[in-house]
Symmetry: C2
Subunit: 385 residues, 2 copies
């Protein structure tokens, strides 16, 4: 069909809406992070490969029509199942030598599910996803409201009832995590050395520290083929944490965020965080950073809402360690994707529907001495092709 518009006596060829729709949108889109902290080059290479695999698997599912929350869960399950990350298998051990996992997922419709201090579940993020699904279905029998957050033994019981994969709690402990635990524990009992987690892990660290697993929370943000949005996060928590401790990965608004936005410029935003859980909770970092993507920048929010937060005014600046991935889907169909960190490094991967292959980056702070003092932020725009 040929259509010609006439305006002021001149003729203009008309671009049919059908043609417009045939262009490739920048979504589905998936981005993951394997933690903000310090990564040696050898560890970084392995983590980049892991991030790429997570993106590839997720994109395949998204192209089959899976929604954003499931995309997040597929990506994070891949990260949890790897012994390389501090989530699921290979998590840091608690003060009593156990793996206790936190995880949560949120979608743009306000759905949320979260588990804290969970033992003996292979993929904590899958339990969170099941909870999100439940909470989207209204009330249970007798009008009971489905839980948003389940912890400890109760969380494991719920996971079992929903058919989530269980394991013996010890099966999530890797040899490397046990070695690190014994080293940290002996230092704690001697209490003579600096922090196992929060001091800066510098390049000149001894060989043992170089082999430490990355110590921070992993996560993902996702846009599905319909423009649905979700964010998620999973963590084994701080090394030598007190049993029962819950970090930002399980706390609403702090570990992850997703929101359909009624703004003129934005259709949806999402965010996933990594870093020192207690400080990320106090600053509600995921919500703040996601919202900043609408009309500000990730750099601005990491600086104003985290590094300079009034609520962290008593915290030693060097310990203000966080990393964030965030996206904004604009009304034009552009996907603005940013990552940023106040740590020495952060491992990030991403893939758009228009990409043949995923990209992975080991982002490093230009001056590692400035960790905790400044931000390292990168932003890119993916447009419909």
């Amino acid at each position: 069909m040929n259509v010609v518009l006439k305006l002021h006596g001149r003729e203009f060829p008309y671009k049919q809406p059908a043609l417009l729709c045939r262009q490739e949108m920048a979504y589905p889109f998936i981005a993951v992070h394997a933690g903000a902290g310090y990564h040696s080059d050898s560890n970084g290479t392995k983590l980049k490969d892991l991030c790429k695999t997570a993106c590839l698997k997720t994109m395949a599912a998204l192209r089959e029509g899976r929604d954003a929350a499931e995309g997040v869960a597929i990506a994070i399950s891949e990260l949890e199942s790897s012994p390389l990350t501090n989530s699921g298998l290979g998590s840091n051990l608690s003060l009593t030598g156990q793996v206790e996992c936190d995880a949560s997922v949120m979608d743009g419709d306000g759905g949320f599910g979260s588990v804290g201090a969970l033992q003996g579940v292979v993929n904590p993020i899958q339990v969170s996803l099941e909870m999100l699904r439940d909470s989207s279905h209204g009330t249970l029998s007798l009008g009971r409201v489905p839980p948003l957050m389940l912890t400890g033994e109760g969380g494991r019981l719920w996971a079992e009832q929903r058919g989530c994969g269980l394991c013996q709690p010890d099966e999530l402990i890797t040899d490397r995590a046990r070695e690190v635990y014994l080293d940290h524990k002996s230092r704690l009992d001697g209490a003579s050395s600096p922090a196992p987690k929060h001091r800066k892990r510098r390049r000149e660290d001894n060989g043992h520290n170089k082999e430490e697993p990355p110590l921070d929370t992993v996560g993902a943000i996702c846009l599905d083929g319909r423009g649905g949005v979700a964010g998620g996060v999973s963590s084994g928590g701080i090394s030598l944490k007190f049993p029962g401790r819950v970090g930002q990965a399980a706390v609403f608004g702090c570990g992850c965020w997703a929101q359909h936005t009624p703004s003129k410029e934005s259709r949806a935003v999402a965010c996933s965080t990594s870093g020192t859980g207690e400080y990320i909770i106090k600053t509600m970092l995921a919500k703040e950073c996601a919202e900043s993507m609408i009309d500000s920048s990730l750099e601005q929010s990491l600086t104003d809402k985290f590094l300079r937060s009034e609520r962290l005014s008593s915290v030693d600046q060097r310990f203000k360690l966080a990393g964030v991935i965030a996206l904004n889907l604009t009304t034009d169909g552009d996907v603005h994707f940013s990552w940023g960190h106040t740590t020495e490094s952060m491992c990030v991967g991403y893939m758009s529907h228009t990409h043949q292959q995923p990209t992975a980056v080991l982002s490093k702070m230009a001056d590692p001495d400035k960790a905790g003092l400044t931000t390292q932020v990168e932003a890119l725009k993916l447009s419909p092709s």
Copy 2:
């Protein structure tokens, strides 16, 4: 000393700062709530007396110089220790017939402590207070960050190590809570009756329901003699909740809020919530309502941020049940205190340093059929005398 100011040739007597300081400020100030829901008149009378006792004990401590966070913990401990409230002793029982408590406290300096799904601790709020103190003291040995949130058995272990009062978990179960549990459980197993918690408990309910304990979270907000501010909250959670479920009372930003404000009109705000935990989490109600006290009203925030929240768009309106107490200390030294609820009733008590006696109110919605649909809000201003 006589001082006279001269301005444009005219003389003005000067009010000495010393005299200004001698006036009675409206703080210390304490306000408590014993839950939003439905209260029979007989239960309401007992709860009002309890609220008054909590205010009196707290004011005595505040006049001795205790700070706001401790004031909150003293008030809430009184409510927890009473079998009348759904917190500590007399809490609702979980699906498996156990008492699991959530509690948290926050102060204006950003200090926070929270426990979730805690068993066998007499006063969960005291554990939260100890955690707040710890988190204000910087890092632990080896630079570990003190936990903000502890759950389950780990929380109890921590409480024991800090000398908080423990008990056998069953000691917190009252006869009345057990009776209600058995009734709800038999209804659940038959699954033939409406909700035990979220349907409206109407005046024409049968005698059994009239004797039900108030089912919602208790809390307190406080200003100490130096203008320090704190908020806190404590809950046994929803009847028949899944074991390990954590509600708003343990979640940062949701159950309670306190903040010193850098605003021109406000020095500090605080808030404490009650109601359906999952919906209060999704709307981060404590933070929203506290902040609204600076430049808006509690009525506005309860309406816009809760009843009309996008994040609750899929929730049946009749289940949108919440109650809030909130304060704003202005730069003039006025204390603006508000309470509001979307439930049929809410029990509130308060006392200023300038008061001889505390006041308690059983606030009722004019039209009980509008529970979940509208707000019942009252506001008062206490000025320096």
